[in-house]
C-alpha cells in the first residue's frame, strides 16, 4: 500500500499492528519473513473511468496492464513473482466478449513471465468494471530491496526511458493519429508497460543496490518516497533523463514539455534505484544515471546543465 490518497493510509496505519518478522504499509510490497525465502505481496485496484477508459484501451490491453503493474511491484523489490490473483467485477455489457478478451491479455503477460493465475473472484457490477490484482512473490531472506536504503554518494539510476507512458495517455486522450510511429510507440508504452522482473533480479544479485522502487507516479513523486524513507536528499540533472526519440519527436510536434512528462506523468514502470556508480557495469542492460544522493533535506534539487533551476512538477493525477 503506497498511495496516500485522501489520507486514509495514515489512518489505516494507526489502526494496524505489524508483528515481528513482517513489514507492512510503506513500500512496494509487504514482506512476510520465511526460513529460506521471504514472501512478498502487493495488490492494485484498477477502475473503469478512473484508471482506464473502455473507449481508449482494448480489453486485452487492460488485462495486460492489470497484471503488469502488479508484477512491477515485485520487480521493485528485486523479487521473483510466484502467482497472481484476479478479482473482477463486470457490468452486464462486459460479461461476454470484453471479459474473455481481458483474460486473454492477462494470460498473455502471465505466460510471458511464467506466473500462474492461481485464484480470485468474479462478480457482477452495477455499472463500471472494477479489477483487483494481487501478486505474491519471493525474495532471498532479508534481501528485498526497500525504499529506505539510499546512501549519500549513491548514483540514482533508471532502467529505461521516462515520460513515454504519460505522452501515450495524452495522445490517447487527444485522439492523435495512431499510424504515426511516435504516437503508436508511446501509446503502447502506456497500454502495455513492461515489468522489469529480470532487471530487478539482476540488480538484487549485484548486492550493491541501496534503494529501489518502480516508477508509477513519476520520479518527482517517487524519488521523494525514497528520500523520505532514507533520510537523504537528491540532485537530479534534467539533461540526463533518458528520453526516447519518439517522445522527443511527439513533444516537438505537439508542443508538450518533455521534462514534465519525464518527471511527473508516471506509469513508466521502470525501476528507480540508488547504487554506487559501478553497478552499471555489473548488469547486461542499460542503467541511466540521472543524479546523485546527497546530504540534506528529503527534497530533489533539479539541475539543468549542472545549474540548479526552479522546476515545479505535480505528481500524476488520474483523469
Amino acid at each position: 500500500m503506497k498511495k496516500g490518497e485522501f489520507g486514509l493510509i495514515d489512518f489505516i496505519k494507526s489502526h494496524t499492528t505489524v508483528p515481528e518478522g513482517m513489514m507492512g504499509i510503506g513500500d512496494d510490497c509487504a514482506i512476510i519473513k520465511g526460513d529460506v525465502n521471504d514472501t512478498i505481496f502487493s495488490t492494485d485496484m484498477l477502475l473503469e473511468g478512473v484508471h482506464f477508459l473502455r473507449t481508449k484501451a482494448s480489453p486485452e490491453d487492460v488485462g495486460w496492464k492489470s497484471a503488469a503493474v502488479n508484477l512491477s511491484d515485485i520487480a521493485a523489490m528485486g523479487g521473483e513473482p510466484t502467482a497472481t490473483f484476479l478479482s473482477i467485477a463486470l457490468p452486464s455489457d462486459a460479461q461476454g466478449e470484453w471479459a474473455e478478451r481481458f483474460v486473454e491479455g492477462y494470460a498473455e503477460i502471465s505466460r510471458l513471465y511464467g506466473v500462474p493465475l492461481l485464484g480470485g473472484d468474479t462478480t457482477s457490477s452495477l455499472r463500471d468494471i472494477a479489477i483487483n490484482v494481487g501478486v505474491m512473490g519471493s525474495c532471498e531472506r532479508g534481501k528485498a530491496l526497500l525504499r529506505s536504503g539510499a546512501k549519500v554518494g549513491d548514483t540514482i539510476f533508471v532502467t529505461g526511458t521516462l515520460g513515454d507512458s504519460g505522452a501515450g495517455l495524452k495522445a490517447l486522450l487527444a485522439d492523435l493519429d495512431n499510424s504515426r510511429e511516435e504516437v503508436s510507440y508511446v501509446v503502447s508504452r502506456h497500454l502495455r508497460p513492461t515489468p522489469r522482473i529480470e532487471e530487478g533480479l539482476a540488480l538484487s544479485r549485484t548486492g550493491l543496490v541501496g534503494a529501489m522502487m518502480d516508477i508509477s507516479d513519476g520520479i518527482a513523486s517517487d524519488l521523494g518516497h525514497i528520500l523520505r524513507a532514507s533520510g537523504v536528499g537528491a540532485e537530479v540533472e534534467l539533461q540526463s533523463l533518458p528520453i526516447s526519440p519518439a517522445l522527443e519527436h511527439i513533444c516537438q510536434c505537439e508542443g508538450w514539455d518533455k521534462y514534465t512528462l519525464a518527471t511527473a506523468a508516471g506509469e513508466d514502470y521502470e525501476l528507480l534505484l540508488t547504487a554506487p556508480e559501478e553497478v552499471a557495469e555489473m548488469v547486461d542492460f542499460p542503467l541511466h544515471p540521472i543524479g546523485k544522493i546527497v546530504e540534506g533535506k528529503a527534497e530533489i534539487r533539479w539541475l539543468k546543465e549542472g545549474k540548479e533551476i526552479e522546476f515545479n512538477t505535480k505528481g500524476f493525477t488520474h483523469f
Copy 2:
C-alpha cells in the same frame, strides 16, 4: 476463485497453467507448496449495491464483513491466517467518515483474530464503493482440507446454525423492527459473520476430516461443490439442520420457510465438512450432523423424517 458467475471461471481456467506444487482455481484457497508449511491465499470482492447497501449496513459492519468472509476461506482449509491486504475504491462522499469507520470495523476483527493488515491500495471511485480483500494463510505441508476428500460413509456436519444470515438480509430489506430480539440476532449474523478459524484448525488436527469448505452460498449449492469434487452423493435430513430459536421465531412471525433459508440463502460462513461420526467427540465445540455421504451421482437427496422428498432450492442470488 470459486464462484462461477457468467462462466468466466472456466474460460480463465482454460487460459491458465498451474505449475507442479501449486493448486489454483476450484477450492476455497489457492495453495503454494512450501518446505515446512504450505501458503494458502484467497480473495473476495465486495461492491456497494451488489454485496452491501450503505443504507442497510454501517461502515463498521462492512469493514468487519469484508475481512470476515476472507478469513472464513482460510478457516475452510483448516489453515491459520497470516495477513490480509485491503484494496478500497471510494467515491468522494465516502472518503471521510465512512472510510474511517470502515477501517475501524476491519481493524476490530483483525485484532480479534490477530491477523495484521499488511498492505493494499486506496483509490478514488466515480460512484460506488468497491472493496477487495486478500488473505494469506498457512497450513501444515499437504494438510489443507479440500473439497475433494469426501468419502462414502462420512457424516456431513456443520459448525453452527444455518439460515440466520439469510433471514437477517430479508429482515434488513423488509425494514423489520431491529428492537425485536430475534430480528437483531439474525441481522447481526448477517452483518457480522464469525469466521470459524479455531474450529477449522481443531478439525484439521483431528486428522479425520474428509472434505471441508465454508458456507457462502447455502448448503444446497456448497455441498454440491464437495459432491462434484469428490465424486460422491449425499443424503441430507431437513429435520437435522440446526436452526436457531431466533430463526424459528422470525419464520413463524413472518411466514418465511426456514428450510429454504437454511439451505439456500447462504452467507452463514459456518464450516461444512465430512468426516467419520466420531470426529464430533474429538472437538470441544458442537458439530451438527445433517446427513451422510453416499455412493452415486453428485447430487443431494433431501430427506424429511427419513423419507425422500422433492425439495427445490435455488442458490443465493445477490440483491
